[in-house]
Symmetry: C2
Subunit: 181 residues, 2 copies
C-alpha cells in the first residue's frame, strides 16, 4: 500500500541521510548568524516534521500563519546519489512567534511525501481517491513513527507533528502547533 | 503496493517538475561549456533514466564502466517545496565513449526510488523480501511508463532504460545500454 512505501522512502531516502547531520548544520548556522540576536535557545534543535491530516501542504509556512516568518536556510549538504553528483539536501529555518510574543528559531518543514498522496488522490488513474487519503496519511504517520523509533541514528533528532485539520479556522493554528511540540 | 506509489512519487515529486525545464538547462550549460569541444551533437537531449532490474544502484556511474566519466552538473533549479525554500534540483552530465571510440554527452541518472526498493527488501520490518523485489522493479517501470506516456509536459524529454541484470559480466554493459537508447 502506498503510504507504507512512502514512509519507508521518506526514511531511507531522506531522514536517515539528513538527521545525523542536523546538529552540525545547526552549529555551523549559529556561528554564521551570531549578529542576528539568535533566539535559538528557546527553539528546538530537532527537525520538526509537519504532517497535516488533510495532506494540504503549502510551500511557504508564512502563507499559513503570520506569526511565522522565513529566516534563512541551513547550510547545504551535498551527497552523491544514484548518479546525481552533489545532490543538495537542506532545511529552512523559520522564526515562530509564540503567544508570549517571543520569537523562536525552528527547523521545520512539511513531510514532502504527503504532496504525492494529495496529488495521487486527485489523479483518477493513480488508483485512490479523497476518501482514502486521510486513512493513508494516518498509515504514513504510524509507519514513520515506528521506523524512526527503531532507528538509533535518528533518535532525538526529530519531532513528528500530526496536524488535525479541524482547527484551521484559528489563524495561529500552525505556530501554536509548532511551539507546543 | 510499494512500487506503484514510488512511481507516482517519482513523477509527481520530480519528473513533472524537472523535465519541462531540462531543455533550458541544457541550453544554458552549452553556452557556459563552449570551450570544451562539446560533443553533445551526438548525445541525447533527454533525461536518460536507468532502471536496473536488480535495483542495484551505484552513486557514480564511472564506478560501473570505465567508458563513462563524470563531466559536470547542469545548472541548479531552485524551487520552494513543502516549506523547504529554494530546494535544489539538478542533473549530472556524463561523457560516454561508444564502441566507435567517440564520446557523447548524456544527462543520465538512476531512478532513485529503486534505492528505496532495494533497502526495503533488506529490512525485515519493511514487509517484502528479495524475491519480490524484481517484480516490484517491473511494476515500477511499467507504472512509470504509463504515467509518462500520458503526460503532455514530459513527452519526448526522457528515455527509460530498463537494464537487464544478466549481462553485467560485460565491463561496458552500461555505456552500451546508454548509447543504444
Ligand atoms: N524535504 C525534502 N527535501 C529533500 O531534499 C528530499 N529528498 C528526498 N526527499 C523525500 O524523501 C523521499 C525519498 O527520496 P528519493 O530521493 O528516494 O525519491 C525522490 C527522488 O527519486 C526524486 N527526486 C526528488 N528530488 C530529487 C532531486 N533533487 N534529485 C534527484 N531526484 C529527486 O523524486 C522522488 C520523490 O521526491 P519527494 O516527493 O521530494 O520526496 C522524497 C521522497 O519521499 C526529500 N524531502
Amino acid at each position: 500500500n502506498v503510504a507504507h512505501g512512502l514512509a519507508w522512502s521518506f526514511y531511507l531516502g531522506y531522514l536517515h541521510l539528513v538527521l545525523p547531520r542536523l546538529e552540525n548544520s545547526i552549529a555551523s548556522f549559529h556561528s554564521s548568524h551570531q549578529w542576528s540576536g539568535s533566539s535559538w535557545g528557546r527553539g528546538s534543535k530537532k527537525l520538526l516534521i509537519l504532517i497535516p491530516l488533510n495532506a494540504n501542504i503549502s510551500h511557504k509556512l508564512e502563507d499559513e500563519d503570520d506569526n511565522i516568518s522565513f529566516y534563512d536556510n541551513l547550510p547545504n549538504s551535498e551527497i552523491d546519489r544514484a548518479g546525481v553528483r552533489g545532490r543538495v539536501y537542506k532545511h529552512s529555518v523559520y522564526r515562530v512567534v509564540g503567544e508570549d510574543g517571543k520569537a523562536r528559531e525552528c527547523v521545520v518543514e512539511y513531510a514532502t511525501p504527503l504532496l504525492t498522496l494529495y496529488k495521487m488522490s486527485q489523479e483518477s488513474s493513480a488508483g485512490f481517491g479523497e476518501s482514502e487519503r486521510k486513512q493513508q496519511v494516518l498509515i504514513f504517520f504510524r509507519t514513520l513513527q515506528n521506523i524512526l523509533e527503531q532507528s538509533l541514528e535518528c533518535r532525538n533528532r526529530y519531532t513528528l507533528i500530526l496536524l488535525n485539520d479541524e482547527r484551521q479556522d484559528d489563524p495561529h493554528f500552525l505556530s501554536k502547533a509548532i511551539l507546543t511540540h
